[in-house]
Symmetry: C2
């Protein structure tokens, strides 16, 4: 993959008026650099997320909050109050959501480049879609477990399954915006979105800016969303406007989007060029490694998580196909030796949402390894273990999140 | 319809041990009789619902809380914090949700009558369904408006459109419970559910008890739900366990269900026998009038509600088929003279849920009457006005909730 950036694009991002203005505003008292390492002690909710349900969350750091596994319960839609957070740098000041409709996005790489406010975007179209929002590193702990006996190391937040939720976004289809702006410029191959975070002075903006490029073939699905679960998106989750790329992992869903450009090449921002790449454990990533984009098929059990009474019980869980629709889910109560189909037991919110499943079992007293595996609409099945990559991205093995169930 | 009750059923309900125990517990400081009339001044949230979002609600009385129309917004799922409340009598004491899994339901009219706890029910099956929960009287104000110029009167809470929500229930299919209890007894024609409210001493229990009978052909859809929107159902909405009859109006979805019996006849409880009947305005209801059961096709606009800027805009709203699936929605900006199809613009949560719709318009400055009308899967179309009935039930005319839009 070619990751060099055309000069025009580079100047638009870093030297342009919008970016300059953003850089000029000092971050109010926060450190801008993200530290992904999990502290060993339980921390309080960070200020920008202090309205969240603290009891539902594991605070790995002020930028990495995981939903506790037991909170999934029977949830079809994840409430914003429990939804995980993963920020790469500090969110912008809360003033950006004081007047949501006046937030501006600069559109480029179209026939008629233009800035549009949220109020203007709202006149162009409105749709509602459900998507699994999932951190690229969800399940990283299971990779770490796999290498713990060796001298190898996978750094990063040790998410188990809680860096994911299924939420409902409302916004304008990007396609409608493109139509209003005369269509896409020739040669565009990527949709490049720039986040509205405030960048600190004195550091190379490219090393910090949250700017992601996704392939142009996502265009039919991308929306620019102002509501989540029927309410205006919180600052913590990217309000006033977030680029939603259904089927793509969290980092591609750019928060506080302030620029969206159709580009011939991927951005040179570090978060795209060498971060979030699928690289081997024994070397650093390069821009030739595959980008972390589309999500893969995945599932996990939500109840029971530790123990159950002997006799009849219902094993329930969540499953999704990632970039594809979900086709089926199987459950095994003997650690993967034998499998039986589970029932999809809730509404189907569409290709990019997760689905609930139920599996009735009758278990005598004893110890069980309960695991589940999903298959997507293209026949891809979750592997027992996912091949390790250095960043610990896109885990989808069925063994890791298995349940050690004690039946008494 | 024959509303006389067989003797066994009557003794089960009123003379049985469960009912006697419930009656013996005094209602803690509350009046038990419902007064449906709306107070003229804005009241505070009642204690059992004090966790609700007060800013989202119109408090008609301590038993009738309506969601403000502007709160629908882009909501696919209605949060419990904003969902309307309509209680016929005071809820039971909050102690009933202290240990949810131990709540008992007495099952009768089956081969092996038995009490089952919620914990036991949870082992029998689990499904999740989305339903429109709507008060039988939602839209009553529009009936009242129709008769205001005459000497006629329709009493009851003057709901506009806010006595409705779309929520996601999780529970056990009633069919699975019936299978576990050996099947339905011969001669059963109704499912009769009894609520767990505490009845005051000294009054005829039949005049107060919340007990509803619905036709047996609902069996395939009925669930006994413990979760709403992924969380345990609040006391205000019927926790620890509620009978959900998809496609049937609110009153049929019995809260705090403590008995469920398959009966040959409808209950003689007043709430079934003469209340919630479709009767003419000029006489009282009798048990021969049709019961308020299945909901009908309906829609309303959610944005804009009063004014808009001239030029392009998106008109959005909600529509559902009631007992049937929704087929289509039309919008008119000239008060119903000309109609055009709207787009269904959100996920399809199934037959009993509502759907979001979007209608792009281009309006010059002026005054507009914006209305919408839905058609269900059987071809039933919303009428301009619903034929008046004395109780003001099941309004579904498209004219009433129309929007007087000022475009500037």
């Amino acid at each position: 993959m070619d990751s060099s950036l055309d000069v025009d694009r580079r100047s638009f991002l870093i030297g342009g008026a919008g970016a300059a203005a953003a850089v000029a505003v000092a971050s109010p008292g926060g450190t801008a650099l993200a530290q992904d390492a999990a502290p060993k002690v339980k921390a309080a909710l960070p200020k920008y997320a202090d309205w969240k349900d603290a009891s539902a969350l594991i605070v790995h750091s002020d930028k990495t909050l995981e939903m506790k596994r037991e909170e999934f319960g029977n949830s079809l839609i994840t409430p914003e109050s429990k939804l995980y957070i993963r920020n790469n740098i500090n969110p912008p000041d809360a003033s950006v959501i004081a007047n949501r409709d006046s937030w501006k996005v600069e559109f480029g790489g179209v026939k008629y480049p233009k800035s549009l406010t949220v109020a203007e975007l709202k006149t162009l179209g409105v749709v509602t879609i459900a998507t699994v929002l999932q951190c690229s590193g969800n399940g990283r702990k299971y990779f770490q477990d796999q290498v713990v006996s060796t001298n190898q190391k996978i750094t990063g937040t040790p998410w188990t399954v809680g860096a994911a939720g299924c939420v409902v976004w409302t916004g304008v289809p990007l396609k409608s915006v493109v139509e209003a702006l005369g269509g896409i410029a020739d040669g565009a191959k990527f949709i490049t979105g720039t986040g509205g975070e405030t960048l600190p002075d004195g550091l190379d903006p490219l090393s910090l800016i949250v700017e992601r490029s996704v392939p142009l073939d996502t265009l039919d699905n991308v929306i620019l969303a102002w509501d989540v679960n029927g309410s205006p998106i919180s600052l913590a989750h990217g309000g006033p406007l977030r680029m939603i790329v259904p089927g793509y992992s969290g980092v591609n869903n750019v928060k506080y989007i302030r620029a969206l450009v159709f580009t011939p090449k991927q951005t040179e921002a570090k978060i795209q060029k060498t971060n979030y790449r699928m690289h081997p454990l024994d070397r650093k990533a390069t821009s030739d490694d595959p980008a972390v984009w589309a999500m893969n098929v995945r599932s996990w059990i939500t109840t029971p998580l530790t123990s159950a009474k002997s006799g009849a019980l219902q094993i329930t869980g969540l499953a999704f196909g990632g970039i594809n629709a979900l086709a089926k889910v199987e459950v095994s109560t003997d650690g993967g030796t034998t499998w039986k189909d589970a029932s999809l037991s809730g509404p189907n919110l569409g290709r990019f949402a997760w689905r609930q499943f139920t599996f009735p079992a009758k278990l005598a007293a004893g110890a069980y390894k309960v695991v589940c595996r999903a298959t997507d609409s293209e026949g891809k099945v979750q592997p027992k273990d996912t091949e390790i990559n250095g960043g610990g991205y896109l885990h989808n093995g069925w063994q890791g999140p298995g349940i050690d169930l004690s039946v008494t």
